[in-house]
Subunit: 449 residues, 2 copies
């Protein structure tokens, strides 16, 4: 279904591709979207891995990196072209350039050159998008190309597309969130382990959650950049990093968590942007948040965003805000969206969901069975015998006081087993004459199950 | 920028519109996307309201309802055409038909006729999409039209687009969620107020959270339909309502919550779909979930979805799963997406975010100030005098025992005031000689702030 195009000669003249929908011949519209990646660090490698491991409309054809010989990996297909010359990327026959070098320069120049040479751009560069997003979007628009930056905020949580498209039918009033995983890790460690700020930062550095110089994270600049981007896509106001009031979390001490708890609160770095008539309120700073609020529940390096719409009320988004793989998911999702809009790989991805070979409800999990019995000696023994026969292990037996002997509820909790195995045991149990009503069985899910 | 087209004569011949991008002249591409709505109940009225109250690429031109004279509302523009003849909709010069009548028939016929007459379709009809989604998507695809059903699952939470587009770059393994607000309301009432199932259902009916016959909700069919749709868009497997094992929540009693709490759990109706090799596991049933899990925290009629991706891990989405306005947001977001894909109203909606007239960080909120002092008599009096002078009301003063008198931390919490007002008071306080270090001030956010 897909046809991998031959590599074009290096340093060919700049050219402007027209939108694929307008000029592509039918067989070309089946072709996959070709991409070149600039930067091959943690996120770049994850993007390449994801592209290799899953079928999609996107085909990696070029990797550009300064230390190309050191970074070259054996698991990429041999026809991926490696180069240390960025000009080769702008001249190449690719549809999209993925910028993963970060920082303001030369990233901005490279994105401009990619757009000017008729390519769409996907980037994870929050500082650049917060700083120059409006101008770059305008350039992309003028060139009839896409500029996508879903990976620039909250990594694997698709919150940029949720605000931009998923809530396009609402009018958003307010966005608040936990946008910096380093701050959240440091604050939750101070809270749960009673650590000092300095000790928590040291631990975060050891685990790779904080940079050697953690200033950009702990002083709020990173969160401010992300808030500027979210405000732009969600509240439709132009906001830059420098417009967002930042306050550091450095002054927070362990005693502040004690006092916060007295007030039913904890402390988080909260980024907020809110329309108020013609004025926009915006800040990224530590704040007390009620223990019952979604913001308080964000643990470790996770991120969370709450958007408040005039019509739809609050919607909440959470997940991993950073890390190679989650960020790669955001990059690849943007690539898939561009490929879809360009009509690339229509035959590939329009494949309808297939019926599964088998459908089952026979989940394995811990099990809860509540029995209601007319009490008499020997009931537990009778039940235990049946479960033993079916090799189902009892985890605990609980009986709350205060119920009539004639209709006594008690609980048996079981170690993990398949629902069908439990059901077979219950079939044998249902006719037993001490039961006042049929036993109630429920699966007991674990965290994450 | 927008031009409202004149109404076409009634019962004109069927015609096939070509995709706007391919045949539209530049000035037509600026035109807004015209829509006809079939069904004018709670959601229909909310959709009409949202479309009237916000600028967008979408223009409502027709409303079709059986009891058109009874339902006609004065607040729609006079050139919206009202009709009780659905044929008029199929013959009309509209781009999209919004189906909001619900149920399998005649909704399915009408959606087919709309697609066959060259219109895209937006629907909130979960039962129909769960039942016949694959065939209708195939028909839309054949006609080169869009079929969008974001409103069919979890109302105002854009989870269909999140799974379909936002996480397109991942490979999802597992979806679980609280998809039925009625069940969640009933179970959380049983839990918090110790109500019986029957009493909780009665209360839900009184508040409009449950139908007169609540079977479809409490017995799991509603959740099963939504799970089938999410599995299709997220796991790319064809699943129908009838394939999902359902169990009712009717057997749950108050005592089950007591036993669940003993196990560190509560009870929720949980819908789950999970790939397991060639087999798909799927069920919609009551289950014990750990009190610490996101599923346990869903209160009242809210919905929540957790998607687990191979690369991005867990992402969580929550908000209002039903109700006129949240569902309308989903419908209008789908309409905006179609309008965007068709190139409608490009001039309208491509308007770049504007700089706000004013940017401020002067949020009003309750305030927390931690002082660290060398203790001596009169400190509170001195501080209180400054705050009184600035008309800032003290809410409480807290002092934890166990600290040295030479460096004693204590807290003053204040009623809501602007950050700038507090800052003025703190300016006067900072030079006071009993302070060992500068006071630390933090805003205290309320739930939802």
């Amino acid at each position: 279904m897909s046809s991998r195009a031959l590599q074009k000669p290096v340093r060919m003249a700049r050219h402007l591709t027209k939108p694929a929908l307008l000029d592509a011949k039918p067989q070309q519209r089946e072709a996959r979207c070709k991409i070149a990646m600039i930067g091959f660090g943690t996120v770049g490698r994850s993007v390449a891995k994801v592209l290799c491991e899953r079928a999609g409309r996107v085909l990696l054809t070029h990797v550009c990196s300064r230390s190309v010989n050191r970074e070259r990996v054996p698991w990429l297909p041999p026809d991926v072209r490696w180069t240390d010359d960025v000009n080769e990327v702008f001249a190449a026959d690719v549809d999209v350039v993925v910028e993963l070098v970060g920082g303001l320069q030369p990233a901005e120049d490279w994105i401009r050159r990619a757009l000017e040479s008729g390519k769409s751009v996907v980037t994870a560069n929050k500082q650049l998008i917060a700083h120059s997003g409006p101008e770059l979007v305008e350039l992309a628009h003028r060139m009839g190309r896409h500029l996508c930056y879903g990976a620039s905020v909250a990594g694997g949580i698709p919150v940029v597309s949720a605000l931009q498209d998923g809530l396009a039918g609402d009018r958003l009033l307010k966005i608040r969130g936990i946008l910096n995983g380093t701050c959240n890790y440091v604050l939750t460690q101070m809270e749960s382990a009673g650590m000092s700020f300095a000790a928590a930062v040291k631990e975060a550095q050891k685990l790779g959650f904080a940079e050697a110089d953690p200033s950009e994270d702990v002083d709020g600049l990173d969160a401010a950049a992300k808030l500027a981007i979210l405000a732009r896509v969600g509240l439709q106001v132009q906001l830059r990093t420098g417009d967002v009031m930042c306050r550091s979390i450095r002054e927070i001490e362990a005693v502040d968590f004690e006092y916060a708890h007295e007030l039913g609160c904890t402390i988080r770095q909260v980024s907020r942007a809110e329309r108020n008539g013609d004025c926009l309120f915006a800040s990224a700073q530590p704040a007390l948040v009620p223990l019952s609020s979604p913001l308080a529940r964000v643990q470790g390096s996770q991120n969370l965003v709450v958007a408040t719409g005039e019509f739809g009320g609050d919607t909440v988004y959470s997940g991993f805000g950073a890390g190679g793989n989650p960020t790669a998911v955001a990059v690849v999702s943007d690539l898939e969206a561009i490929a879809k809009a360009n009509g690339n790989g229509a035959g590939l991805a329009a494949a309808e969901p297939q019926p599964p070979k088998e459908i089952s409800s026979d989940f394995a999990s811990r099990q809860y069975v509540r029995f209601t019995v007319k009490d008499r000696p020997g009931i537990i023994a009778a039940l235990a015998a049946v479960f033993a026969e079916h090799q189902i292990n009892i985890d605990s037996i609980l009986q709350k006081p205060g119920y009539e002997k004639s209709s006594l509820p008690f609980l048996i909790a079981f170690e993990a087993c398949r629902a069908s195995v439990l059901e077979k045991a219950l079939e044998k149990i249902r006719p037993l004459d001490f039961l006042v009503k049929p036993p109630l069985s429920l699966p007991v899910l674990s965290e994450g199950e």
